[in-house]
């Protein structure tokens, strides 16, 4: 549909770039306005959320959610889709899984100790939750942006205008047919 009218270049590469840095895939496709919009909205939301959580809300633990649901960090599944900005958490989680005493990148985006997390919950309360929501929603929104880079938009102006004109013509045809039938009766 829209792919015929908008040049998506290499859609797979564009989708990968869109995951890596929100907006980069669209920039690669020459859709610079959209690239800017996605970068501002998604990265802005992610960074504000990250700051609200004092940089300690994006982390990942390799645990089985069925065996240890309290230790599982489901919000990272959403945050992961922000791309490069959330990737250190996955690297840290993997390194810590194999080497718990590691101090890779000085613990940046590593899982905070439980006493630190408990202190933050008491101190920040709802702000901490909002930080988690911001960063998770940013990742989920980037899924839409990745899909847009891969497949193009659902509608473009021309498609919608054509669809509207077609439905209007169909309605007019139906109305005239109805009038003819009534006339015949």
């Amino acid at each position: 549909m829209s792919q015929q009218r908008i040049s998506l270049r290499d859609p797979v590469k564009a989708a990968f770039l869109a995951w890596l840095v929100p907006g980069l895939g669209h920039y690669y496709q020459g859709r610079k306005g959209k690239a800017l919009l996605y970068a501002i909205c998604i990265l802005g939301l992610y960074l504000v959320g990250f700051a609200l959580g004092e940089g300690k809300i994006v982390y990942w633990r390799w645990v089985n959610p069925l065996n240890n649901p309290e230790k599982f960090a489901p919000h990272y599944i959403g945050q992961f889709f922000v791309g490069l900005a959330a990737l250190p958490a996955l690297i840290q989680g993997t390194i810590r899984h194999f080497s718990p005493d590691s101090n890779f990148l000085w613990g940046f985006m590593a899982e905070p100790p439980q006493n630190v997390l408990n202190g933050m919950i008491l101190r920040l309360n709802k702000i901490l939750e909002i930080g988690v929501i911001y960063t998770t929603v940013a990742g989920l929104l980037n899924i839409l942006a990745i899909y847009d880079a891969y497949e193009g938009p659902a509608y473009i102006d021309l498609d919608e205008a054509e669809a509207e004109a077609e439905s209007e013509a169909e309605a007019a045809r139906a109305a005239s047919n109805g009038a003819k039938v009534e006339g015949a009766v």
Binding site: S2, G44, V48, Y134, A154, Y155, I156
Partner: protein, 62 residues
């Protein structure tokens, strides 16, 4: 974080970002992106405010 006396204001940037990104992923023409995102933003806010009002009413009357 005493500066955030009312955390409800933090819903606003979230709703604006969701509306803009959703509309941009559906449309390509800028006038349509702006108009659809404004419409979606107002719908989400109206639903949120309506739900909040109903819950407040129930909470204060019951």
């Amino acid at each position: 974080m005493g500066s955030f006396s009312n955390v409800y204001w933090l819903v606003l940037p979230l709703v604006v970002a969701i509306s803009l990104v959703y509309s941009a992923s559906r449309h390509e023409a800028w006038p349509r992106i702006w108009s659809r995102s404004l419409r979606l933003c107002l719908w989400i806010l109206a639903i949120l405010i309506g739900t909040r009002a109903i819950l407040l009413l129930i909470n204060t009357q019951v």
